[in-house]
């Protein structure tokens, strides 16, 4: 499992050092993809960050003693539960707000200089192509049913196999295959076989 090594935590506690380092490597390896998955589901950056943060904490508190090989499906299972909770809460909040006479736009749209800084810089042409493909894929993903979107991202972006995806989604392997097949069909229909 490739893990990113950026941002390793300085740990003074020698007895927990090895375990903490393993956990740090695991979380560093999944956090960005997890954020993308949460963002695709919640369509809100801060909510997605909150969901990933909660999932990290929950994994660390409740499942850190499990073997490291089991962490990934468990982490995505926790994240999925968190996303579902947030979506439910949002639905309830939306119903309540719909009754209110005035709805102000509280979105914080101030540009953040750090946020504007690109983390990678490919060639301009490639960048444009990829940006267009990304936009198209994200739009198409947004139109998929939640389970299809989830299975597609877990399998394609995170690279989970069928069994791990089934654990992460809390369903059978047969369901994973069905959802994945339908997701691929729908996306192909929208984007075409070769869209990059």
């Amino acid at each position: 499992m490739p893990v990113s090594t950026h941002g390793d935590v300085e740990l003074s506690d020698s007895s927990t050092n090895a375990h903490s380092r393993t956990l740090n490597q695991f979380l560093a390896g999944v956090e960005l993809k997890a954020f993308k998955i949460a963002q695709a589901a919640l369509r809100h950056e801060d909510d997605a960050l909150d969901a990933v943060q909660d999932a990290m904490l929950q994994l660390a508190r409740a499942y850190a003693d499990k073997p490291a090989e089991e962490w990934k499906p468990l982490f995505y299972r926790i994240l999925e539960n968190r996303i579902r909770d947030m979506q439910r809460r949002r639905t309830v909040r939306g119903r309540v707000i719909a009754w209110l006479p005035f709805r102000g736009d509280d979105e914080d749209d101030e540009p953040d200089p750090i946020a504007q800084a690109p983390s990678n810089d490919p060639s301009p042409v490639k960048k444009l192509e990829l940006a267009e493909a990304m936009g198209a894929l994200e739009k198409a993903l947004g139109e998929l049913p939640r389970r299809q979107q989830q299975v597609f991202l877990l399998r394609t972006l995170e690279g989970l196999d069928v069994a791990e995806t089934a654990i992460a989604m809390g369903c059978s392997e047969g369901s994973v295959k069905t959802h994945y097949f339908r997701a691929l069909q729908a996306l192909r229909q929208q984007l075409g076989e070769s869209y990059v």
Partner: protein, 138 residues
């Protein structure tokens, strides 16, 4: 071919490429917050694992503190005894329980029944008391 040895189509390969590119383009603010979240999670995990060995490390210190507290409590309870002054009494009034003791005393019955049972001992005792009182007065 996927990481799990499964055949993947061109469409899946392209999608994977696009998604990975989108991950690389995640901005600094998000990366920073994720980094903070990771640190918090690792700290939480470390704190959860810490108590057991901390207990053994801190046991001597905790024991010494408990012993010191115990000694302090004992010394406090056995501190300087303050004698409470009794209220001034007029004469030497017998304690109320004293009469009860006399009545309950088996010897008292013998004294009443002494000799002919006329209570001669008590008469004698009363005479003695009166005599002493007069002697003191004179």
């Amino acid at each position: 071919m996927s990481a799990h040895g499964e055949e993947i189509t061109e469409f899946e390969r392209q999608s994977c490429l696009v998604l990975e590119e989108s991950v690389l383009r995640i901005d600094g603010r998000v990366r920073s917050r994720l980094n903070q979240a990771r640190h918090a999670a690792i700290e939480a995990a470390a704190a959860r694992r810490r108590p057991l060995w901390r207990f053994f490390t801190l046991a001597p210190t905790a024991g010494a503190a408990a012993a010191a507290l115990l000694v302090a409590m004992v010394l406090w309870h056995r501190g300087p005894q303050v004698e409470v002054p009794l209220p001034p009494t007029v004469g030497e009034a017998p304690h109320p329980g004293e009469d009860l003791d006399l009545l309950a005393d088996g010897e008292a019955l013998d004294l009443i029944q002494d000799g002919d049972g006329s209570g001669a001992f008590y008469e004698w005792a009363a005479d003695q008391t009166e005599g002493n009182g007069n002697e003191t007065a004179t």
